[in-house]
Amino acid sequence: MTKSSVSAPQFFALLYLSMLGSMFMYISSPKITIATAEALLRPVVFAVVSILFALPIYFLCTKGGLKENLQAEKKSKVYKGVALFYGVVYFIDALMTVARFDLFASSELFPGTEMTYFLMGLVAVCVALTFCGIGALGRASTIFTLIVVAATAFASFTLSKEVDLLNFTPLFENGVGKFITDSLSFSIQASEIGAIVIFFPEIKGNVKKHYILWSVLSALSFSFILFFVIGTLGAFADTQLFPTYSAVTLAQFGLFERLDALETAIWILCVVTKLTLYISAIVKCIGFAFPRLSEKITAISVGAVITGFLIFISGNINNFNFISFTPLVMGIYLAPVIVLPSVLLIYNLIKRRKKNEKIS
């Protein structure tokens, strides 16, 4: 493996960590109740949706000949436009990740403390990590995944005696329709899937197999975490901004109390991985659109712009609400996963037809 190539298991370990990061800092929409039994089934819908919605990406990567096209279409305006669009989407994603972590850090880690400087440091670390390339990030992710999974399993083990089955509700109490809409809202948080298109030439190995494995494992992990969140907190989970963290605050093992400090330290690995993935994706997209730009300068500039926006968002909860606005969240999921790959597929198809017409 070179600096710029990553094996499929490593790449999906990266995506898995990124998804766990979302789960640990999960903020439920006001319209969606967490403390229900069907919340445990929402990840199943997530797995199905992730597999179905990824079909355009699958066709683009296989039948669309993405690897060859990325070489051949280096000067294509459509490809460059799509690359820039991807960059914008992942910029918003990166901003959402940092803003959510800012809210988490200033609410739970150091309540009432201005965390902007800490987050500037975090963004700087992520920018520096992008210099190492996707290969190094992928390899680091495999180790991080082991650490995070072990820590989560340990916290769950210590929470097991706190689980009360009375905290659950009857299955489909509010109807199957509500379950489906809630599950769809829950499922559209994995915009990272779109990064497969961006890094496809660098991924070595069976992407399809590992993607399905990733979907299933992510869904199982979500259900596992939600079981402990609901089982320990019950309806209280819905009153909490970060229910996963609230559940972890109850974890204790023998003489060791307040294991949340240990857990949050490990969760930061997920945030770092997620943010680095987004910055790497943005740099790659800008690099495709403007090949003459230096990757390092682009990464630093992206980091600086993210920090600038963060300073604007950080001080006011309304700004945070704006970037968590449901249509925006939906947009930044659908664009990289369905819309942009479909645009490329259609473009390739039209181009191929024109070529065939010319030949005939």
């Binding site: 009432g112 403390t113 509700t169 309806a235 009153t239 909490q240 609230s246």
Partner: protein, 389 residues
């Protein structure tokens, strides 16, 4: 040059980590400048709340066993405000230190405050970032939260720690339920459930005072205080709540002897059926217990007979205890603090939906049947044939 830069970066990161390895500290605040809360008493005033807090006397508590001077281990302050939050923040005017709620052990709700809506009192603790959801709750019976926090105990110790231990251990022994902020919120949010919070009173002990856990305070579905139940009734709540896993039970043996047993393992399960419009809750309890002591001169002749008599007696005592508690809870000021409504919702949701609007009328009519399966695990170090003369 590149290598040199890397080493510099590594060193500066290490120094940054080293400097931030300081526990129990708010950034920029020394440990001695924090009000580390241990217990909070909440009472009401004409237009708001009065809070009384027990704080660690940081300088004294910092050294093992104190620093040898006459200072107490804790300090107590009181402040008032329109809300609990405001009153707690105003404590800064008394101590000059910044409040830290993360280590608070127990919240004592004064009797008058208990008569107000509980949600108003708990909202601050539910919302505050620093406050832990696992803090224990209790009600000051026939007194104020302030008096409990200011109680003159015999030893110079952290009173809230004693209270916390009492609440924790009593809950472990199934004497009173363990009620944390999470539990209280869950009960309040459940439209059918009432809430039961352990009640603590102050007992005179010469010139000093003691804490005494004396039953529980019952809150209705509207989160308002409705009545106290005594210790006997409180002991049955764990059985009805299917949380009777440890504790002592005394039983009357057929020959008139009394015996006490230590329950070391318990498992229970409810089955709900509706017959002629009446809900029947069938509770099956499986217990494993050790014989702790038998009173009286008589004893049984055969081991098998003794064991069987013991098992039957434990089962009967358990049923009696649970039934008596349910009678109290189904009484005029009672409430569904054993989550029968929630159990029905989980098992028979359609039935629950039909009944929920009249739950206050339906709960008192519920019939309980208990089936016990008791195993005597150990009999202690004394044999049955060690006849006492």
């Amino acid at each position: 040059m590149k290598k040199y830069l890397k080493v510099c970066a590594l060193l500066s990161l290490s120094v940054a980590c080293l400097l931030s390895f300081s526990s129990c500290e708010k950034p920029g605040t020394e440990l001695s400048e924090l009000m580390i809360m241990q217990g909070i008493g909440i009472d009401t005033t004409n237009d708001g709340f009065k809070v009384t807090v027990e704080l660690l006397n940081n300088e004294q508590s910092g050294s093992p066993g104190g620093n040898g001077n006459s200072e107490n281990k804790t300090k107590i302050y009181t402040a008032e405000g329109k809300t609990v939050g405001e009153a707690l923040r105003k404590l800064i005017t008394k101590s000059g230190n910044e409040p830290m709620f993360a280590h608070n052990r127990v919240i004592v709700i004064g009797e008058e405050a208990a008569n107000r809506n509980l949600s108003d009192i708990l909202d601050f603790f539910e919302r505050n970032y620093d406050s832990r959801a696992s803090q224990l709750l209790c009600v000051a019976k026939n007194t104020t939260g302030e008096k409990v926090i200011r109680a003159k105990l015999l030893t110079d110790t952290i009173k809230s720690k004693i209270l916390e231990n009492m609440l924790e251990e009593s809950a472990k022994q199934s004497l009173v339920p363990k009620v944390r902020i999470i539990d209280a919120i869950n009960y309040i949010k459940d439209e059918a459930s009432g809430l039961c919070i352990p009640a603590v009173k102050i007992q005179k002990n010469g010139e000093n005072e003691n804490f005494d856990l004396d039953g529980c305070a019952i809150f209705g579905t509207d989160s308002t205080f409705s009545m106290y139940i005594d210790s006997q009734a409180a002991e049955g709540i764990a059985i009805l709540n299917d949380k009777f896993e440890e504790g002592v039970i005394s039983a009357d043996l057929p020959n008139g002897q009394k015996a006490s047993f230590y329950i070391n393992k318990g498992k229970s399960k409810y089955k709900i059926i509706q017959e002629n419009g009446v809900l029947h809750y069938n509770l099956t309890v499986k217990l494993s217990c050790d014989l702790e002591g038998v009173q009286g001169a008589e004893y049984f002749n055969t081991d098998t007979g003794v064991i069987e008599a013991f098992q039957t007696a434990v089962g009967e005592a358990l049923c009696k205890k649970a039934e008596n508690t349910l009678i109290v809870l189904q009484g005029k000021h009672g409430a569904d603090v054993v989550r029968y409504g929630k159990r029905l919702r989980l098992k028979e949701n359609d039935l629950y939906k039909n009944m929920i609007n009249d739950w206050d009328k339906i709960f008192p009519e519920i019939k309980l049947t208990i089936t016990t399966d008791v195993t005597i695990r150990r009999i202690g170090e004394e044999t049955f044939h060690s006849k006492k003369t």
